[in-house]
Symmetry: C2
Subunit: 412 residues, 2 copies
């Protein structure tokens, strides 16, 4: 393998997570260890838009200590985007521009951190540059709280959101069960098509403080069945706690949240969801005749770095570092993934997933990991998710407030 000398660019894309900046730290810190091959390290301002506009930050001018604070700093420190690059057969304007900027900046290492859509961007960039015979190694770093990326055991970001949800729900359990009055609570977790996050709320059940019922988009939702399920629990326990995914839909494919669908559609064609908890809470209050609260975790679940999973942080860092090492070894056109070893204790090894195998696909919760009634997850789901929330968060505090990384963000 020829040694490739040049500059590196890293970008963040799609919805933020608690640990996407840990992957950034992994890429930056590993790249800094190889000055003989990687001459300059650049960050894209707002993902691929930063390349299109030639708006790059010079990461080499940041303090190393601040880069280390990234592991306690949620969301996309460089800025994110949801920009979709056209397919080259339709319109190659964007790809020509990307090629131009990379060449101008002598960028030979291209890292993009995101979900399904971002892997699509990676794949297009990689193919286009190869066709143009511009040597550049392209690596995707996985990221999504939704945990729906294909080809990897799990995704950095998921474990931290799962830990946050399990923690918050177990604490609300304490609150709800301190009253003697009957009550219902509906929690709304993110997840349009994949119910991983709502499913993860079952982790609170490991300590006996979880939801009683969980509804995922993988199983058709039935209002009557939910009312009946809730009534049964309420009768027995006086309090019923229900977790749902934002994307639950009835058998005819209609979103439960559709009544709230006056919202905009983003540039990937996703409908903006939210409000299912409030809607179901109203429904249930009428049905059950008790006080019902709807709690939508909203953005909180994807940026709660103060409750992140230590393992998730370590793995996000590792994904970044492994990506750089792989690229230096000549690897290109892959996403970094995790493969779990059989049995206990939990162990994962890094794998390389060809971009074409993961881009634009979605991995949903297997039907076998949801109980027959479709109102909870199975022990297999819990055994899968529990190891992912272990370990303490890395966030540092000053005067009781988070000490986030302070980057200078000096433009190239």
């Amino acid at each position: 393998m020829t040694k490739l000398i040049g500059n590196l660019v890293f970008g963040q894309s799609g919805g933020p997570t608690s640990v996407i900046n840990s992957s950034a730290a992994g890429v930056f810190l590993e790249a800094l260890d190889h000055p003989e091959l990687i001459q300059n390290i650049y960050g894209m301002r707002h993902g691929i838009e930063g390349v299109l506009r030639d708006e790059l930050y010079d990461i080499g001018r940041e303090d190393r200590q601040e880069l280390e604070y990234l592991t306690g700093t949620p969301s996309s420190i460089l800025g994110t985007c949801r920009y979709k690059i056209a397919s080259p057969e339709v319109d190659d304007t964007d790809l020509r521009r990307i090629h131009e900027v990379l060449a101008k900046r002598n960028i030979r290492y291209f890292f993009y951190n995101g979900g399904n859509d971002s892997m699509d961007t990676c794949m297009k960039v990689e193919r286009y540059l190869k066709a143009q015979e511009y040597e550049c190694r392209v690596i995707g770093i996985p990221k999504t709280i939704d945990n729906d990326l294909f080809g990897t055991d799990h995704c950095p970001g998921f474990g931290s959101s799962a830990r946050y949800l399990a923690t918050a729900i177990s604490e609300v359990w304490q609150d709800a069960h301190s009253y003697s009055t009957p009550m219902a609570i509906v929690f709304e977790c993110m997840g349009r098509h994949a119910g991983w996050l709502a499913g993860a709320s079952a982790l609170a059940g490991v300590i006996g403080h979880g939801p009683d019922l969980i509804y995922l988009p993988e199983v058709p939702f039935d209002f009557d069945q939910m009312h009946e399920d809730a009534r049964q629990v309420l009768k027995k326990k006086n309090v019923v706690m229900i977790s749902v995914s934002e994307g639950i839909m009835t058998a005819d494919g209609t979103l439960v949240a559709e009544q709230l669908s006056s919202r905009a559609t983003d540039s990937f064609g996703h409908k903006q969801l939210g409000g299912v908890a409030a809607l179901l809470a109203d429904e249930l209050a009428d049905e059950l005749g008790v006080k019902v609260r709807g709690i939508e975790f909203s953005l909180l679940q994807r940026c709660a770095a103060h409750a992140a999973s230590g393992r998730d942080i370590e793995e996000a860092l590792l994904a970044g570092r492994s990506g750089v090492k792989a690229a230096l070894d000549g690897v290109s056109g892959v996403m970094i993934g995790f493969k779990r070893a059989e049995g206990e204790p939990y162990r994962c090894e890094i794998i390389h997933v060809p971009l074409a195998e993961t881009a634009n696909k979605e991995k949903v919760v297997p039907r076998a990991w949801i109980n027959e009634a479709g109102n909870y997850v199975t022990q297999d789901f819990i055994d899968y998710a529990l190891p992912l929330i272990e370990g303490e968060p890395h966030q540092k505090h000053e005067n009781g407030l988070p000490r986030f990384a302070r980057l200078k963000k000096i433009r190239v």
Copy 2:
């Protein structure tokens, strides 16, 4: 002062907090240190209702280690209630029953942990027992996230909620500012008449990641002014973050949340609020023409022990311990309070506030601590609140999940 030998009872009342169980731990651990005077330690099942029904737990039979875990366990471990005792001149049934149960159980130390309404209960019990010449020392322990208790610098529970809100808002700031698209976010904090919690969201501003606008119930709310304020910020910053109290009202005294007022009224006559964030988000989306998210912190803000203030925990413990010491010294008919020393560094001493001076009153945010425009708090507010959120939470974790106290709750 005669030594008083007998049993102690402790109860929790009103809305849960992250540290009410720390006060419980303080009372229990201190009481355990004085077996020569306090023979048995009882816990009320669901507050005063537990006395009325003679449903008490024998705390002496709990493991000491589990009592220590209480400092990381949110909400009311013994159960809470919102029961309002009738005034004896109207109906003394409840007070006669309380007297009967206390006498039957030889209870000579009565501790009640709660807010304004709970101090009213304390006061009635204390006066009634005195009139009946039943010797029993009655102490109120302050508790409320609302921070609206009279006669004390601040209330245990407030600091932890304030820290949680500041942390969560600063993390959401990171999320919102990672996009280049304009956006507005409305945060809804608890507080019917007092804006302490919404005000505390300004603490996130200390690290530059706070809301741009804060509206409290202490200042009449004006929709047009809010729209104009938001437009100005949006123009300058591209993102506007707004914190409001659930209880904000217009100049005519109408709650902004009133459109959602189909909800029940609790037994103290409080209207159940909520939904202001969603309502204002809808309003603003139309006004500003940008994406707006409403985030209601709901129960999360009062039970997030995983993000509690270490100082708040220590002070809640201290309030419990000091209460027991005071009672053993012959004090009765007071609430434990905090008096802050002038100047830096932060120091507070314990004071005894006569129950009549605090019961049924509400301490709101001074107008001078809100800016002239009525859309933010002043530096005085921040100087007041910042020391209250210092110190790390005490919550322990096992497998990434909270290790809550596990009490046996053996009935007397």
